[in-house]
């Protein structure tokens, strides 16, 4: 047994807990989790059944933490879990799982499968079976501060551009600001309009806000790849930044996983509560809306639908705000079938979009999204996650669909009362 495999088993042993034990003992092999998983529904391949992805973990649990399992192993009645098995499971645990959590929602015995996949990834990664793309992303995050290698100075240049283009001031390292925004480098690279939109909205809402040079990146590939130690290191930067600037609220940008990592995983990773709140930008917008700080004018006339990012909605509990916000600015908002907490994943969450090996499968899985979109025949597709946006774009391109994609924040910003003169985009 190699040191890394040994360490992997060790970490899994550390992590296996009562809920996991309870879940494994509840499983009936009914296959309903598969019916909820787009990798199974779109391929029909039973190996993509979510619970099957956990086989190594289940066996490890049985062999380590049940008397029957220990005895079986003692008498040679069960094979120990091996490194080869981890290797074999790599495609199941990383390529065909977006941590979307839909399986956890439908399991009739209540098994939280996605939590177990996250657990298993912990071991797989340490054993050296994480996909190279995700390793690279993680490495870049640790080395440069951002998964895409975008440095603070690169961001500063973007900010300069925005200032030049729109005249909007983006505060940097403002101690005592009410809000601190962390953004996904995807947005910096692909959707700079997001930052502009936030600036406009903040201006209209008259809120103090800031970016932090030490902690501008929202996404946390440590959570994706499944290494808590790394995830902790990444989240700690934001915590340090926010606490240094003494902000009240950290706004997670339109990136679902980043929100999950910061909002739900972060305190558990650093093992203490934050001294600030964490809110997704959509939540913040909704708070502004409720306080009447969000004045819009006009409506998007084209039929418009919303893709609920898994981590925002199902895994994040943000279900209503986006709808209320949309209704402010869209006259023909339609819900896709299976919307809200039952929405289907774009197919690229959980680091899958970083994983080149998974691309083909991801595009197959997109069939599900296409069907959803076609069902409502929407002319616009809005979402609130940069990663979803990119994956959806890729998918639509691959599937030769032509539905314009928009971020929710940008859509709102487009209809802000004071920005009408400024034109759209």
């Amino acid at each position: 047994m190699s040191a890394s495999f040994h360490r992997a088993v060790n970490v899994l042993k550390k992590m296996i807990d009562t809920p996991i034990a309870s879940y494994f003992n509840s499983c009936l092999h009914c296959g309903l989790c598969a019916e909820a998983c787009l990798f199974y529904t779109e391929t029909g391949d039973p190996k993509y059944a979510p619970i099957y992805k956990l086989e190594p973990l289940r066996r490890l649990y049985q062999q380590e933490y049940t008397l029957m399992g220990r005895m079986a192993r003692l008498f040679g009645l069960s094979r120990p879990v091996t490194a080869t098995e981890f290797e074999d499971w790599k495609t199941l645990v990383y390529d065909s799982c977006t941590l979307c959590g839909r399986c956890s929602l439908v399991c009739p015995t209540g098994n939280d499968i996605v939590s177990m996949v996250k657990c298993l990834r912990e071991g797989m990664a340490i054993a050296g079976h994480a996909p190279q793309g995700m390793i690279d992303v993680t490495k870049r995050t640790l080395e440069t501060g951002s998964p895409m290698g975008i440095t603070w100075s690169a961001l500063q240049r973007k900010i300069e551009n925005i200032k030049t283009e729109t005249g909007l001031e983006i505060p940097l390292n403002q101690e005592g600001a009410e809000y601190m925004l962390v953004i996904s480098s995807l947005e910096i690279a692909h959707f700079p309009g997001f930052l502009t939109a936030v600036s406009k909205i903040m201006r209209q809402a008259k809120k103090t806000w800031t970016l932090c040079s030490d902690a501008f990146e929202a996404s946390n590939s440590g959570v994706h790849i499944g290494v808590s130690d790394i995830a902790k290191e990444i989240v700690s930067r934001i915590v340090a930044g926010a606490e240094k600037l003494r902000v009240k609220t950290v706004i997670s940008s339109e990136c679902g996983h980043a929100f999950t990592a910061l909002r739900w995983d972060g305190p558990n990773l650093i093992e203490r509560p934050y001294r600030f709140r964490v809110r997704h930008i959509v939540e913040v917008l909704d708070e502004f809306r409720k306080q009447g700080l969000l004045q819009t004018i006009g409506h998007e006339e084209a039929r418009l639908t919303f893709h609920d990012p898994c981590q925002l909605a199902r895994m994040g509990g943000v279900l209503e705000p986006q709808r209320k916000l949309l209704k402010m600015v869209a006259s023909d908002f339609v819900e896709m079938p299976d919307s809200g907490e039952y929405n289907w994943c774009c197919g690229g969450g959980g680091g899958v979009s970083d994983n080149e090996d998974a691309k083909e499968l991801r595009l197959v899985a997109f069939t599900r999204k296409r069907a959803q979109l076609e069902a409502v025949n929407a002319r616009r597709l809005v979402t609130a996650c940069a990663n979803c946006r990119i994956v959806l774009g890729e998918g639509m391109q691959h599937h030769q669909m032509n539905v314009p994609l928009l971020g929710l924040t940008e859509l709102i910003a487009n209809y802000l009362l004071e920005t009408t003169a400024g034109g759209t985009e």
Binding site: S2, A3, S4, F5, R7, A8, N10, V11, K13, K14, I16, E64, Y65, T66, L67, A83, T84, F86, E87, A125, I126, A127, G128, H129, A130, I135, T138, K139, L142, I225, V227, D229, I230
Partner: protein, 366 residues
């Protein structure tokens, strides 16, 4: 054994039974045992022979009930058997002499009839402590049985005690009481269980043996199929009530008075192989179920150790015991799993080295 035949009429007149009645009796016996009518003729010839085949009856750890049951026989009567059909050469409960004279008579009979006599045994044999728990004339009953079995042509284990140990063998079997068939292996042994056996079963088998020199067809437990082939329930006159789900719930409720099925009062008729419901008892006047008490299962091995006589067969033999102990044992196992699992987890936590990005690219090997 060679029987000198005489005219049946003459013989039957001796004991005051008409020839017609006598032949009718033989035919009835044949039909009782589900034998062809030719067997009835064979019976009548054998029963009329002048030389009566020798039978020796030994009682060990018994209660006397089997002997009493034999005495209750109506067809044939004990008098008929003794005077006309067989020669009861030895039976302590009848023997006129006592002591030395009896012992001498026993030895004499064995010697005279070596290899020919039929040995009937009632009661079990205590095997603990070299058999000190049961002796006659200073001889342990085990030794006595083996001595007497040596010269026997065949052995009948009479009654549940001899067949399977009966009362003496009931838990905890203080004397090591043992069934006859476990001790005698080199002779044909037929088992006639029942506490006591039905008289006609005793006499029927006796007469069959005396006529044909062999035992009738036996089941896996060495019991004649003719009498033990069906369960008491199979032919019970109350069975229709069972089928209708009409059960007496108490011994003198309306159901009991209407003769409803006694299943819920613990009747063991379903699993008891015996002829009570067809042959009935004491001149076919009644049988236990007809008189309101469930079948005790007295012809089945271990019937005294099978839980309550009043608990329906579909219920557990007795209330669940040991549940608390089992829960405690489970708690102990669970507790030790808790300790070891916690230990493993703590070791895993303590030996965990923080992972860094360099760890991710390590190739795992074999």
């Amino acid at each position: 054994m060679e029987n000198r035949e005489i005219e049946p009429l003459e013989s039957s007149m001796v004991h005051g039974v008409s020839r017609r009645t006598f032949l009718q009796y033989c035919a009835t016996l044949a039909s009782l045992m589900a034998l062809p009518s030719s067997a009835g003729v064979a019976f009548s010839k054998a029963l009329s022979s002048v030389s009566r085949p020798p039978v020796i009856w030994l009682s060990f750890q018994d209660c006397g009930g089997c002997t009493e049951s034999l005495i209750r026989s109506n067809v044939p009567t004990l008098e008929d058997l003794l005077f006309n059909s067989l020669s009861l050469e030895y039976h302590q409960a009848f023997q006129i002499s006592a002591g030395i004279a009896t012992e001498a008579a026993r030895k004499d009979v064995v010697q005279k009839n070596w290899g020919k006599y039929l040995l009937i045994v009632d009661g079990s044999i205590p095997m603990k402590e070299e058999g000190v728990y049961s002796t006659t004339a200073g001889v342990s009953h085990y030794d006595l049985l083996m001595e007497m079995a040596k010269g026997a042509a065949a052995v009948i284990a009479m009654g549940t005690c001899a067949v399977s140990g009966g009362l003496s063998r009931a838990y905890p079997n203080p004397t090591g009481a043992t069934a006859i068939s476990r001790l005698i292996k080199d002779k044909p042994v037929i088992n006639l269980p029942g506490c006591p056996p039905i008289p006609v079963v005793m006499t029927g088998v006796l007469i069959y043996y005396l006529t044909f020199g062999a035992f009738p067809e036996l089941d896996a437990l060495g019991r004649p199929k003719a009498f033990y082939g069906e369960t008491v329930h199979d032919r019970c006159y109350r069975r229709p009530f069972y089928e209708q789900g009409k059960f007496a719930k108490s011994f003198d409720d309306e159901g009991a008075r209407q003769g409803w099925c006694l299943f819920e009062l613990g009747c063991k008729g379903h699993i008891t192989h015996n002829a009570c419901s067809t042959k009935k008892w004491n001149g076919a006047v009644s049988f236990p179920i007809e008189s309101g008490h469930g079948c005790l299962g007295c012809s089945e091995p271990g019937f005294l150790d099978t839980g309550s006589f009043y608990r329906a067969l579909s219920l557990p033999e007795k209330p669940i015991g040991h549940a608390v102990n089992a829960l405690m044992a489970g708690a102990m196992v669970g507790g030790s799993m808790f300790m070891t699992n916690r230990g493993f987890k703590m070791v895993a936590a303590h030996t965990h080295l923080p992972s860094c990005v360099a760890d991710l690219e390590k190739e795992s090997g074999g």
